[in-house]
Amino acid sequence: MAGPGIAWYLGIAAFLFGTGALGVLVRRNPIIVLLSLEIMLNGGNLALIAFARHAGNGAGQIFALTVMAVAASEVCVGLGLVVAIHRRRLTLDVDELSELRG
C-alpha cells in the first residue's frame, strides 16, 4: 500500500491535538476556545482513521463518524451558549465567567 507510513499521520494528529490544547489553555475568547476544541477533536479523528487504515478494518472510521456527530452537537450547544451570554451583555471572556468558584 502506497503513501506515507502511519508515523506521519500520527505526527500530524499529535500536532493538531497539541495546537488545539494550547488554544484551549491560553485563549480567553469562548469562540476561539470552541474552535480549538474542534481542532483537538479532528486531531483525534485523524489518528483514528490512520489506525483504521493501518489495521485494515473499518471500526476506526465508524468511531470517527461518531466523533464528528458529537463535535457537531457540541458546537451547536457551545455556540448557543455563547450567543446567550452575549445577549445578557456579559463579557465574552472565560476568565470572567467564574460563577462556579468555590
Binding site: A21, V24, L25, R28, V33, V94, D95, S98, R101, G102
Partner: protein
C-alpha cells in the same frame, strides 16, 4: 366433646377478628353484640364438652391436636386442646361469667368513643383465658398466660388519654412479665430433663427429678402463679388495675386472669406435690396475702379498690386451699368467687354509671334508697363474700379453712390466718355496704344521680347483675363438704385432694362455726363503727398511715428497683452517652466540614485551570501507563 372445646376456644377469637376487620362498616352497638354472642357461643361449646365428658366412663382427659406447631429433634409441641374435668370446669366459669360481663358492658360502655376496640379486646381476653385453661401442654398454657397479660394491659390502659391508666397498665404488664419469665425458666428445666412439655410426660418426670431441680421447677411455676394472681410479693399491680373500665375489673377479678394462678397450681399439682415445701410456701403466701389485703381494704375509700383488695384476699384463700392440697375446695372457691365478685363489681359499676363516674364511697351515702335493686344485689354479693350461710361463699371458704386445719401446726397456723381473714372480710365488706347504701341520700347523690329512663340501668346491665345474684346466692349448694361433694368427685381424676387435706366432720363443723361467728362479728363491728355514717376511715393515726400506704410495698419497690435503675441510666447518660456516643458524631461532622473548607479552594471557577488539571492528570496517567508497560 372435642368439637365443643375447639368451638369454645376459637369463637371469641373469631369475634375479635370480626370486629377488628369490620371496622367502621358495622355500627358501634353491633360490635358489642358480636362480642357477647361470640363469648356465649364459647359458653355453649363449654357446655357441649362438659356433657360430652360426663357421658364418658373414663374422665382422665382427652387430647386433640390440630397440627404440630413446633418441632426440633425429639421436642415436639402441637396446637392441642385438652378436655378433662378441670379444664371443662374452668371453661364453664370463664365463658359463662365472661359472657355475662361482656353483655353488661354493652350498657356500661354505651356512648364511649372507642366501643369497637373495647369489645374486640374483651373477646380477645376471653380467648386468651380459654387458651390458658384448654391448652393441652405447658407451652400452650404459657401462650395463654402471656396473651392474658397482653389483653389485661390493653384493657387496663383502655382510657389511654389518662396518664394514670397508662401507668397502671404498664405496671400490670411488668409485674406479670416477671411471673412469665420465672415460668419460662421452669419450663426450660423441664425440657432439659424430658425434652417434652406435654402434661403427662412432665408430670411423670416429676418423681424422678433431683430435689433441687423439682424445687426449682415448682418455684418457677409459683412465681408465675403469684404474679398473675396478685399475691404477695407481686401484688401491687392489682389495685392500680382499677383504672380500667369497671366491667374490665370484673373480668380480671372474676372470670379470667387472677384465677389463673390457682388453676396453674391445681393443673400442675403433681409437680407441686413432689416439691411439698414450695406447695406449702404457696399456702403460706396465700394466708399472708389474705390477711394483709384484708387490712388494707379497711382504709380504702374508692369503691372499686375495696373490692379489688377483697379479691386479693379471696385469691389468698384459694392459694391456701390448693397449697395444702385441697384442690377441689380451692377450685370450688374460685367458682363461687367468680359469681359473687363479678356481682359486686357489676353492682358497683351500676352505681358508678348512675353517678357519672364517681367512685368515692364517702360521697355515695344513702344511695340504697334510690337504687333498691342494686342494693339487694350488692347485699347478696357481700353476704356471699363474708361467707354467711346459705350464701355461696360459706360453702367454699369454710371448706378451705377446714382443710387447712387438718395439717398439723402449720395447717393450724394457716387456718388461724384464714379465720382472721374471715373477720376482716366481714368488717371491710360491710364497712363498704354501710357507708354506701343505708341512710338518707346525701346531697351529692341527689344532685348527681342520673337514672336510666327511671330505671337503675339499661336492661343489658341489670340482667347480668340479676343472674349473678342468683348464682351468688344459690351457687354454693353445688357442694357441702361433709354431706355431698359432686365437685370433688368430678375433679377426682385430675386433681385428687390430698389425704392431708381431708378434714374430719368435727373439724369442718368447728371451723364453720368459728368462721361464721367471726364473719358476723366483723359485720357487727362494721355496724357499730360505720352504721351511722359519721366517718369513713378508722382513727388510729399510725396504723392508718401504714395501711393507706399499703404496707409500703410500692415505696419499697421504688427504692429497690426503680431508683437504682433510674440512677444508673442518668449516670450512663451523663458519663457515657453524652461524652462518648454523642460527641463522636459531632466530631465526625466537624471533621468533614473542615475537609470541605480545604477542598473548596480547588474550585477556582476558571475554565482554563480545570483544563490544565485535566491535561496534567492525563499526562500523569500516560506516564504511569508507559512506565508500567
Amino acid at each position: 366433646m372435642i368439637s365443643g372445646a375447639w368451638l369454645c376456644l376459637f369463637a371469641p377469637l373469631a369475634g375479635t377478628l370480626l370486629i377488628l376487620l369490620a371496622g367502621n362498616r358495622i355500627p358501634r352497638v353491633a360490635a358489642g353484640w358480636i362480642s357477647t354472642a361470640s363469648v356465649f357461643v364459647a359458653f355453649a361449646g363449654a357446655i357441649w364438652s362438659f356433657f360430652g365428658l360426663r357421658a364418658q366412663s373414663d374422665r382422665s382427659g382427652y387430647l386433640s391436636t390440630a397440627w404440630t406447631w413446633l418441632q426440633s429433634g425429639s421436642f415436639k409441641v402441637g396446637l392441642t386442646v385438652l378436655v378433662d374435668p378441670l379444664s371443662t370446669m374452668m371453661m364453664l366459669v370463664v365463658a359463662g361469667v365472661g359472657g355475662l360481663i361482656v353483655l353488661y358492658s354493652i350498657g356500661y360502655m354505651d356512648g364511649d368513643d372507642e366501643e369497637r376496640r373495647y369489645f374486640a379486646y374483651m373477646s380477645l381476653f376471653v380467648f386468651s383465658m380459654l387458651m390458658l385453661v384448654e391448652g393441652g401442654n405447658l407451652l400452650l398454657l404459657l401462650v395463654g398466660w402471656g396473651l392474658v397479660g397482653l389483653s389485661s394491659y390493653l384493657l387496663i390502659g383502655f382510657w389511654h388519654e389518662r396518664p394514670s391508666a397508662v401507668a397502671a397498665a404498664k405496671k400490670a404488664f411488668v409485674m406479670n412479665a416477671i411471673g412469665d419469665a420465672t415460668m419460662a425458666l421452669s419450663f426450660f428445666v423441664i425440657i432439659a430433663h424430658s425434652s417434652s412439655l406435654e402434661f403427662g410426660t412432665s408430670f411423670d418426670l416429676a418423681g424422678s427429678l433431683s430435689p433441687t431441680a423439682i424445687n426449682l421447677v415448682a418455684l418457677g411455676l409459683l412465681g408465675g402463679a403469684v404474679a398473675k394472681s396478685a399475691q404477695i410479693p407481686l401484688q401491687t399491680w392489682l389495685p392500680d388495675a382499677m383504672e380500667g373500665p369497671t366491667p374490665v375489673s370484673a373480668l380480671i377479678h372474676a372470670a379470667t386472669m387472677v384465677t389463673a394462678g390457682v388453676y396453674l397450681i391445681a393443673r400442675t399439682h403433681t409437680i407441686f406435690e413432689h416439691a411439698r415445701t414450695v406447695e406449702l410456701a404457696a399456702a403460706g403466701l396465700g394466708a399472708l396475702t389474705l390477711v394483709v389485703a384484708g387490712l388494707i381494704a379497711l382504709v380504702q375509700t374508692d369503691i372499686k379498690r375495696v373490692i379489688a383488695y377483697s379479691t386479693m384476699s379471696q385469691i389468698g384463700y384459694m392459694f391456701l386451699g390448693v397449697g395444702v392440697g385441697a384442690y377441689a375446695n380451692g377450685m370450688f372457691h374460685l367458682m363461687t368467687h367468680a359469681f359473687f365478685k363479678a356481682l359486686l363489681f357489676l353492682a358497683a359499676g351500676v352505681l358508678i354509671h348512675a353517678l357519672g363516674g364517681e367512685q368515692d364511697i364517702r360521697r355515695m351515702r344513702g344511695i340504697g334508697a334510690l337504687m333498691p335493686l342494686t342494693r339487694w344485689a350488692f347485699l347478696a354479693g357481700a353476704l356471699a363474700l363474708v361467707g354467711i350461710p346459705p350464701f355461696s361463699g360459706f360453702f367454699s371458704k369454710d371448706s378451705i379453712i377446714a382443710a387447712a386445719l387438718h395439717d398439723h401446726w402449720y395447717g393450724a397456723l394457716l387456718a388461724i390466718a384464714g379465720l382472721v381473714g374471715a373477720f376482716l372480710t366481714g368488717l371491710y365488706t360491710f364497712r363498704l355496704y354501710f357507708l354506701v347504701f343505708p341512710g338518707e341520700p346525701s346531697a351529692f347523690v341527689r344532685e348527681h344521680l342520673h337514672l336510666h329512663h327511671g330505671k337503675e340501668g339499661p336492661p343489658t346491665m341489670l340482667l347480668p347483675v340479676g343472674i349473678l345474684a342468683l348464682l351468688a346466692v344459690f351457687g354454693g349448694f353445688l357442694q357441702f363438704s361433709p354431706v355431698w361433694h359432686p365437685l370433688t368427685n368430678w375433679l377426682d381424676p385430675v386433681a385428687r385432694t390430698l389425704t392431708a387435706a381431708e378434714p374430719t366432720n368435727r373439724q369442718e363443723a368447728i371451723s364453720s362455726v368459728i368462721a361464721v361467728a367471726l364473719g358476723l362479728g366483723g359485720i357487727g363491728l362494721a355496724w357499730a363503727l360505720y352504721g351511722r355514717g359519721e366517718r369513713a376511715v378508722p382513727h388510729v393515726a399510725a396504723l392508718q398511715r401504714i395501711l393507706e400506704h399499703k404496707f409500703y410495698f410500692d415505696e419499697a419497690y421504688d427504692a429497690l428497683f426503680y431508683k437504682p435503675a433510674a440512677q444508673l441510666a442518668t449516670w450512663l447518660r451523663r458519663d457515657f452517652e453524652e461524652p462518648v456516643v454523642l460527641a463522636t458524631g459531632t466530631d465526625l461532622g466537624e471533621g468533614a466540614l473542615e475537609l470541605g473548607e480545604g477542598v473548596r479552594r480547588l474550585q477556582t471557577g476558571l475554565l482554563r485551570t480545570y483544563v490544565l488539571f485535566l491535561g496534567t492528570g492525563l499526562a500523569i496517567v500516560g506516564v504511569i501507563f508507559l512506565a508500567i508497560r
